[in-house]
Amino acid sequence: MRDKRTSLEAAIAAVPDGARLALGGNTLHRGPGAAVHELVRQGRRGLEIVKTAGAYDIDLLCGVGAAATVSAGFVGFETAFGLAPSYRRAVEGGRVEAREHACYTVIAGLRAAIQGVPFMPVAGLTGSDLPAARGFRRLGDPYGGGEVVVIPALVPDVAIVHVQEADAIGNARIVGTRFEDVLMVQAARRVILTAERIVDGAGFEAAPETVAIAGFMVDAVVEAPGGAWPFGCAGLYDFDTEYLAAYVAASRAEETLLRFVRERILDDAAAMVLA
């Protein structure tokens, strides 16, 4: 297989404005922080973000005007830091459309994409206003059972996933929880990996069971030490409490958010985590 290594700049330049973009990780954990910062630096616009539960990534992309749509089940910084201020403000101000999902319906949409089918049936959802609000249809069971909600295929144009270890052709190990990352890799038209380190893939041959992502599904591999930051990265570093607290405080108003972005993101973010 061919060598897929490239720079973060070049990899992110291949994410067009308006792309449907799946981001790996969950809430405060193993999100692709460096890639999100690069999207901000490159001034991307009109993105649809797809994720089950997001935090800093979604809030920031909403705050700087990069995201137009959020398809997610939960957006918040958990009890550690509370609500997502810029996301709230952008949705309440009508600048971002919140396509609320039930987490499992994000998974169902990705599954339909992976399986090449137009829709995926999903159990539950009875009694909820979500199916009607989101236009999710019901189908009768042709084998004589009851009705079931079906979720339309959700095909990301691009998935960006941060991993602990990858080889040059895109085989990758994920330490700890995989979240929905493997689903995103399979469902997306294009896959960008950022990796804490690039390793010689020959080492994977002794234990291919431990390789979460098969290289032939990957389009670009970026070496990005500290590339989850300010998210945590299992086995290597925790989420950055101090930075996130400062971010959430700044995010409470547009002016303070933009100052924070200018001072701490448009300058060299990578330098900070390595310092």
């Binding site: 918040g76 958990e78 509370g82 039930a102 999903v122």
Partner: protein, 237 residues
């Protein structure tokens, strides 16, 4: 609250919590320590029966993988519930109505909400299919316990709701007070609740934690992670 939650969990049951759920995390570990050693503890991070060295403030934290022998994905856990094999799901709710339905989505007009909330996470999918759902909420006031939700994020098999004031059970589709916590005045409870409640001086009082329960709790949550919830109540699921 956390001790009362723990008492609701039976031995051998399969129990799940999601993001932003410190109280269910502590309660499940406590139940396992006390009376439910064969309880199967599953959380959104995919650990099975973790034995965390320190309790994380994020309930998706890798700390909840310590001591686990198998990893499952969130997808596996939703599937487990969908096929009727999950006994207990812990879910939150920013608004909760008198039939135990929850709103985690928005306040105001759905088309242009006054307040955009975090979203229900897995609750709309889990609540109808988990064998029973336990709701918890660290605030008990009339803005939380409402007659009418602005949006029904999820509805389903709610068995109990725990608050700082009382324990609700759901009977014939309505929340009723199962017990009032020690020292809570029935009138104050009624005033704090936006839907009608049958509660008086004859209502049972929640059994206070025993010394054994408090001792186990002190060991499990020596950092008082459970307290973080009372500072910032964003719900969870």
């Amino acid at each position: 609250m956390v001790v009362t939650l723990a008492r609701l969990l039976g031995d051998g049951e399969t129990v799940f919590h999601g993001v932003a759920s410190p109280l269910p995390m502590v309660a499940t570990l406590l139940a396992k320590r006390l009376h439910a050693p064969d309880l199967v503890y599953l959380s959104i991070g995919g650990g099975v029966d973790p034995d965390p060295v320190r309790l994380p403030v994020s309930t998706v934290d890798p700390a909840l993988l310590h001591g686990t022998r198998a990893l499952v994905t969130l997808t596996d856990l939703f599937d487990l519930a969908a096929r009727g094999r999950l006994d207990v799901a812990f879910l939150g709710g920013v608004q909760i109505d008198g039939s135990g339905r929850i709103n985690m989505s928005l306040i105001g007009d759905p088309a242009r909400p006054k307040v955009r909330l975090p979203g229900g996470a897995g609750s709309a999918a889990l609540m109808p299919v988990a064998r029973r759902t336990i709701l918890w909420r660290t605030k008990h006031d009339p803005r939380t316990f409402v007659e009418r939700l602005d949006f029904v994020t999820a509805a389903g098999n709610v068995a109990h709701v725990i608050t700082p004031l009382c324990l609700f059970a759901r009977r014939e589709g309505r929340l009723v007070v199962e017990s009032v916590h020690p020292g809570v005045d029935p009138d104050a409870l009624r005033a704090a609740t936006g839907f009608p409640l049958a509660v008086d001086s004859g209502t049972p009082v929640t059994q206070a934690p025993t010394a054994a329960e408090l001792g186990a709790l002190a060991q499990i949550d020596s950092d008082h992670v459970r307290v973080s919830e009372f500072e910032r109540a964003t719900g969870g699921g």
